[in-house]
């Protein structure tokens, strides 16, 4: 395999892994919604915060290792934050 091909594969792999972990976070909130667990459930809040922090550390590592740009990493995190906010808005409406 050519060197450039290896880098493309690795960058692709890093992106996939990070998207997988972002999806797990969204899944967590979907489970919360399905089970009608209130938004301010402390256990859920803590798990979510921890997972978000973990993901931000993975992204930071991938950036420093040269597997993605800092810009791409930021975009993934802010897209996820928007998605989390959107789900929580839906959860709030559901709770009314």
């Amino acid at each position: 395999m050519a060197a450039s091909e290896i880098m493309v594969n690795l960058n692709q792999k890093a992106l996939e892994l990070i998207r997988e972990d972002a999806d797990k976070i969204l899944k967590l909130i979907e489970v919360q919604m399905e089970n009608l667990i209130p938004r301010q459930c402390p256990l859920y809040e803590e798990v979510l915060d921890t997972q978000m922090y973990g993901l931000s550390r993975e992204i930071d590592f991938a950036v420093r290792a040269g597997l993605m740009t800092r810009q791409a990493g930021k975009e993934i995190l802010s897209r996820l934050e928007r998605e989390v906010a959107r789900l929580y808005e839906a959860l709030n409406r559901q709770g009314k």
Copy 2:
């Protein structure tokens, strides 16, 4: 650069980044010792737990991306845990 050379460089880079972060954690405890902050200081405990968790997520990511073996990742974490324990023992003795 040859493909194998790129992989060796990347694995090396991943290892360096993780060692840097492990060193930061040890540094944190050294600062705690120098300032005679007691071991059970809640703020320090929380920061340390968070940093350890962050590092474990970076290592897990590096393993999944194929940048290091699971075994190597485990060894780094357990070496760090031993070092943290050793520093804390010294901190306990210091406090007597």
